[in-house]
Symmetry: C2
Subunit: 517 residues, 2 copies
Amino acid sequence: MIEDKPPKPLYIRLHERDNVAIVANSGVLPAGSIFEGGLILRDPVPQGHKVALVDIAKDAAIRRYGEVIGYAERDILKGGWIDESSVRLPQAPAFDTMPLATKVPATQSPLDGYTFEGYRNADGSVGTKNILGISSSVQCVAGTVDYVVRLIKEKLLSQYPNVDDVVALNHAYGCGVAIDAPAAIIPIRTLQNLALNPNFGGEVMVVALGCEKLQAERLLPAGMIPINPEKPPIMRMQDEQFSGFGEMVEAVMAMARQRLETLNRRKRETCLAADLVIGLQCGGSDAFSGVTANPAVGFAADLLVRAGATVMFSEVTEVRDAVQLLTPRAINEDVARALIREMAWYDNYLAAGGADRSANPSPGNKKGGLANVVEKALGSIVKSGTSPIVGVLSPGERATQKGLLFAATPASDFVCGTLQVASGITLQVFTTGRGTPYGLSAVPVIKVSTRSDLAARWHDLIDINAGRIATGESTIEELGWEIFRLILDVASGRKKSWSDRWGLYNALTLFNPAPVT
Amino acid sequence: MIEDKPPKPLYIRLHERDNVAIVANSGVLPAGSIFEGGLILRDPVPQGHKVALVDIAKDAAIRRYGEVIGYAERDILKGGWIDESSVRLPQAPAFDTMPLATKVPATQSPLDGYTFEGYRNADGSVGTKNILGISSSVQCVAGTVDYVVRLIKEKLLSQYPNVDDVVALNHAYGCGVAIDAPAAIIPIRTLQNLALNPNFGGEVMVVALGCEKLQAERLLPAGMIPINPEKPPIMRMQDEQFSGFGEMVEAVMAMARQRLETLNRRKRETCLAADLVIGLQCGGSDAFSGVTANPAVGFAADLLVRAGATVMFSEVTEVRDAVQLLTPRAINEDVARALIREMAWYDNYLAAGGADRSANPSPGNKKGGLANVVEKALGSIVKSGTSPIVGVLSPGERATQKGLLFAATPASDFVCGTLQVASGITLQVFTTGRGTPYGLSAVPVIKVSTRSDLAARWHDLIDINAGRIATGESTIEELGWEIFRLILDVASGRKKSWSDRWGLYNALTLFNPAPVT
């Protein structure tokens, strides 16, 4: 495309202390470009990448978001490109000097009057979809569950018009694993809590084998589900009563039919926004993530918290290097210490596996302008908004509180998504700079792009374009409200996210830090 | 079922040194039952469980297969039931005193004249199926690959009658992982080699995202596949040229169509049995595994080796405690040391994760009569037959040798299956005592049951009943030949295994000992 006039060079500086800014123009801004104010670009700089606003001497601090993201590996001249090789990674912040609950944000004014149409469950939780979830105790039976799910979709589902979908909760766990290892608690409680996600309406059923280490009863935690102990909802393939695969399939179909009938009687009713449990995540981040999409999501997170909802953000490895900005926001010292506990657990886990901090960011993150994990983390935590952090969940734990929570999970999109579904989210907001077709079958996912380019190219995958903030078409506040309103629409079933329209879903992926045997 | 006469009490003793035998009768044999020879049962003993043939004093050795499977926790009287709690687990055999290549079996006479109808590839390998495999570089795109595979099955596949199937090689790897950690080599080479399985005919194509850590080029190992470097067979969703999901799908479909045309020209031709690459595995084992199914498979393994084929057995944790019986069979000291190297690596891996040896066997194994992992291992290695072990593969390495190999993998059925497919098997023989609906989409799986009860109940899941050995209806030799002949039939497409008839497939599950980030 040849343009008559080159676009006006534009950079975005986030904080008065910053000595770098990111180039806003799409493509690559040529050397010699002159910004308003007179700064002359010395090198060609791609969109999202950093330009030095002043001369930065070797070993001097490089600041973005008002924070040190690293130290100059060599002298960098004003107007020069600061690529990843020019930034030396600083030490991770030490835990022992971290401020605990020292800057607890004041509670913001309540936001009343916002509602959505949800499925209220017996335990008080509210779903945004009405899904039959079929649990499996071990990967051995996954093929069988897939077989039955295909059959239910073909033969049964149309008879139950109020049921949105039937979903196999398959996974790679259940046997061939060190089930008594200390870390085995994570995948086991994840599986228990996945089945309890509000979108499954409490209608738990399990397809099991019989000889597996993870015995099916362990997926029915006592007291969580009203289950007849005489006849728990388990089909065990090795059960003596079955003669042949056909009979096993029939047994699962019968169990499914009962549950479909119950689920089909569920009706959407008007619920307060306070009944929402919203997960926040980012994936395929770039330098705009912390400038456009994540701030807008942070604004929406504040609205949700003000409305009384539960909001969780996650991704330990992308929070770790900015956690000193979060511990002061913890509601009390215990919550701050819980944050540190999760970070420290992960530090040890990574060290044991020989992984170092340079394993993040990904090549795409770097291409998008993120020099290192510190810069990525500073952009990542912006999506938590400005509310106090009132609780911390260990991986796969179920949320029981309103307000802003930190749900400790890996940053891996599909692992984080799985764990947030186990923690009880009923909708996820996902920001992306590079683009990902990510989706979850259990809960709707709203995808927010950081740049207009991506939103234009991926017009049928991206739900909201936050790139409009960088171009000045929209403010963070306006985008935040737009996201908030879209959450209410999608949660009510009035609108569908793109991943739901195409049926693009990532498989559940358990976090199992324990060995495979 | 009420019978007029109770069945004749029957036990199976395997070795003259054994002081225990297993009860062969189905169900539970009542106390007071009298065996031929006069032994009186003191306790009710379930099928497959052990009975003491003599008084065994506390701390004395308990022997089965002529080997010590443990020590008596208390005095056990002649005719008493030896349940798992009566057997103390011995130390794992030490590596430093292990005999290396001290009893290399003599080469058996060649077995000529056996052939099958296979798909010969350009690299000389021979497939047993003709499948389009679509690789993905990262789990983020798995939903997209699934979408395209559904579409190909609906719209394209019927136009290519010689193509058996289209299979998504999806996985939970590619990003959010410590890609530079030492152990990352395992999942990466597994993905590379999966795409090279002979059943995919060398027609590799990759659906990628763009920003992932595992860049798609790494899935196309140089020299392994004749690929035009100008236009590698990669569809990258973040590629600037695509406008919208529809265009991306079109690009994958076009790439698939090209490959389907090439694959459709493949024809089965007569190949020597020497062209087979057969994987052996067991899952859901019981005390009969080492008596019926595994010995029969071992006999078939010897026939295959005599015919010049490649045969691999696996499952480190179920070989570890009997490896002192395998190191003498290694063809030379290097191969014996490689065996020990893989065992030692796994010992360390388990210890690092806090797993101990009692994590195996599973509850179902124990119910089936296996007291501990030593007894399980002694039964497991029987399926390797009696040939010399000529090579050892690290997890996910590709086999390049004929003869009997040890392919180091976890014992987890689906992880072992995935790794053996990466190592190049074109058919797997799977023995089971408790029963599992296990199957692989890339290669046919023949399932052999250890007991007639299971074969009767699972008449439409079990392909061969080795329980006939225990009842005296068949000999190990006869069953071994039957398995050998069925391998040739299934490899030729003349017969279909039950998992292929139902379409019951376990998802690929990578072995990733490195951390998730």
